[in-house]
Point group: C3
Chain length 351, copies 3
């Protein structure tokens, strides 16, 4: 977009400003990384001391702070500065690559495929027979889409993904590079002649507004469906096993793994590298801290953490044991009438 | 296949049935997900209460339960209902995609490559010079196969994998999308002029009946061989470092990582997200629980778990310390003659 | 290269040898895997007992051990036998695949791309408009390079990677198969109408001599830069989130995850499966043990480990609690005048 004055920006945002309306904003950045001609934002009064440190001369600030901030910057007031900021940062960003409607001549389209004219199908894409794609969907370079798969409107698939057969994908779904959807679930059974692979004949269903990070793997169901519900956001390198269900607007941060058949509620947050064992329920709104290992059901609304995850309260109690132990040992020493004080006990013989 | 009567199904399975032989089975599903016209299965008497809950009217049941199950369903008796079920579920599943013999015109085949007529080589596949492929092997879209690699019979490689040079792969090997086999091991040495990359000139050898999940990475050896032995099953997003050996029929669940030079025995199970440090031995038949961090050898047949994994018995002891500590602290209080009872001690000063 | 005599090899290395100069070396291997005609190496006196076990007849040994090793082998003396070994192992390895200069006819090169004649651009590669590539860089099969990206000299990109738009990559960078660089950071904000995706308009900058393992994912910055500094080595399946900075010569072992905005110093080692929470600082030269979960800043030069990582000393103290607890409980029993000795207390009622 290029440059814009404070007055123009405030008008665009239907907001009030206090300060220099002619000042030209050239970019957007965080408070600490901003340069003099950047605009930045402050979410709450808690960060007001950063106003002395930032080089940004223009600050989006919450309406509730109007008149309460130091006179050293030009302020544009809005209800949610972070959300407004997210919207307008695009104005200053370089144009994103454009993917025009059309099917690249190197794309391989099988029989019975339905692709509206509004779609972009990039170079070296393969689309299997009977697959149906919605309006305005963009499938970039090197994607493999299996047969009889259904993809909704306004989806965006980055390069080199593999979406296997009979997958059902809703609208506005974003899939980052290298993702695999619909791989066989990990299922074997001990038969008389050794390990037997259990056929994985189910599907994956992905509802509207889901986003899936780079190099994730989401397995198809044994039978039935592995189901990622609307608004779920999945970070990079996440594993979702067969027959898992993930509720609306849940977030799986990077490298999370969810084992077979577990049901994750809506509005759940699983932090980075969390593992959920198989066949569990994680209730609506629950949170599990980074690297948590979940081996039993997590009740709705609860926060758990730790290797063999447990309620945060129990985790904290466990974490403080070494300190408590030292104190107790000192008291025992005293009771024993010893005239030495407790120090670290000899430990070599203990193991 | 479509629909089939109970009598026809029992005949197909060479099994006896009790109940309505004319009932038409339309699909197969698990007890809890089945609809009225589905068949399902019960593994043992332990699950008999589910018979009241399932909608399925036809149940595969173990012969040993003949005559012992409630009169509310039609039963087909077999030795191992789960194994039988796995076989016949295919009959009701949609036909899997078919990959006909032949080499797609967009595939790039280098000099000196040997590909039998029975093979399927998909679109946009690259095969490097001197590579030899066995009968009936299917290599789907977008695979890169390096030079002088050997691939056995009846293998199935899903799209977009990278198999580098001089890899040796046996028969009946299944490789899911996005897998990399033969990447350089992670090896560096501090030289006088900084960090020096150690050449990784070894290979990867993968024996018969191995299956490797989506987006796994298996490094070639420094020299010698990274060796995945027959019947090993590897789930998604697993990392196998250089010079690792994995014994027959061992299972690595999703997101496991095995560091350089470790030897995993046969029949081992490493649960999800387990990490094995470098140069260790995990004995035959050992099991490590989810997220276990293994920093010392695990003896054959033992079950370990925990961050800094240890025998399950030790892990349980450690887990119960907070409860035990409270009781002991209460006893110390009593010995001290205090007239207050033990409650959570003040903790703020302890850290 | 083929075979070489000990005398020729010593001359090539400008080194002295003691033993049979006419002995023909046919390969290189580790002490334990070597065959009779292989050369191997010993790093220090600590491993001298392996000289009795190895079949290798020729040993590279440190100069400081000259004359001190048993008379059963031929020795070639050098300052750093491991480094020398790494150099000469290439002489005996099969020739690596050769990627000749030129652009494969199936490659798709957009407008305004700059590719020197010395580069190799493999089959099915896509290069977006305005992208600039340095001398001698090799981009193998199936890579997608976005628009306005800059790639330096002597880089080597293995097949099927995705490098998005506006990425900046230095010289001598090696990228293994399936890597994604420049995917959107994981950023959302709760707006009035639900979860809003925060635009990720920044870039990724990768400096000289970086190596990135198979199937890694490195996110672009929200704005500004995700920055991997020179000499950083990244193993397989690593996740680097938006706005992360990684200092010179730092090593991230397999399956590490670094959350958004964290700054990792120079010369740091994060062992396998370590997770670093967001917004943290890990000081220069710090080390975190395998699976460590880092939730607070790690001071420079310190070694931390454990789930909820902590200084190694604290971790060890915590690990020894079960043993110490037993001893203390026995002493309390004695103080109580009990005539039974401490054994495992009944535990069923404790939870």
């Amino acid at each position: 977009m290029g440059n814009i004055t404070v007055a123009e920006l405030a008008k665009l945002l239907d907001s009030e400003f206090i300060g220099n309306g002619d000042f030209v904003v050239e970019g957007m950045n965080s408070l600490l990384d901003a340069k003099e001609n950047d605009a930045s934002f402050i979410v709450s009064d808690k960060f007001r001391n950063l106003l002395n440190k930032t080089k940004a001369n223009v600050i989006l600030a919450p309406i509730v702070l109007k008149g309460m901030l130091p006179d050293i910057k030009t302020y544009i007031y809005c209800a949610q500065p972070n959300v407004t900021f997210a919207k307008i940062v695009k104005l200053f960003a370089p144009h994103p690559p454009e993917y025009q409607p059309g099917i690249h001549p190197t794309a391989i389209i099988s029989d019975g495929v339905s692709i509206p004219d509004s779609c972009h199908i990039g170079p070296n894409v393969f689309i299997g027979k009977g697959t149906i794609i919605g309006e305005n969907t963009k499938i970039l370079f090197g994607n493999f889409i299996g047969e009889n798969t259904r993809i909704g409107k306004n989806c965006f698939f980055y390069p080199n993904c593999v979406i296997r057969e009979r997958i059902v994908i809703g609208n506005n779904v974003i899939i980052h590079p290298g993702v695999c959807i619909g791989s066989d679930g990990f299922g074997y059974e001990a038969g008389p002649a050794g390990i037997v692979k259990i056929p994985q004949v189910g599907i994956v269903r992905i509802d509207d507004d889901v986003e899936i990070g780079a190099n994730c793997a989401i397995d198809r169901a044994r039978f039935g469906v592995t189901w990622i519900k609307s608004g779920v956001k999945i970070d990079n390198l996440v594993h979702v096993a067969h027959n898992v269900e993930i509720g609306e607007s849940t977030m799986l941060i990077a490298q999370v793994g969810v084992a077979g058949g577990s049901k994750i509620g809506r509005g759940v947050v699983l932090a980075g590298q969390v593992g959920i064992s198989h066949g569990l329920n994680v209730g609506d709104g629950a949170k599990v801290g980074g690297q948590g290992g979940v081996f039993e059901d997590v009740p709705a609304g609860k926060s758990w953490m730790g290797c063999l995850a447990e309620p945060v309260k129990d985790f904290v109690e466990r974490s403080m044991l070494p300190g408590k132990f030292k104190k107790l040992a000192a008291r025992v020493l005293k009771l024993e009438g010893a005239n030495r004080t407790y120090q670290d006990e000899p430990t070599k013989t203990e193991k």
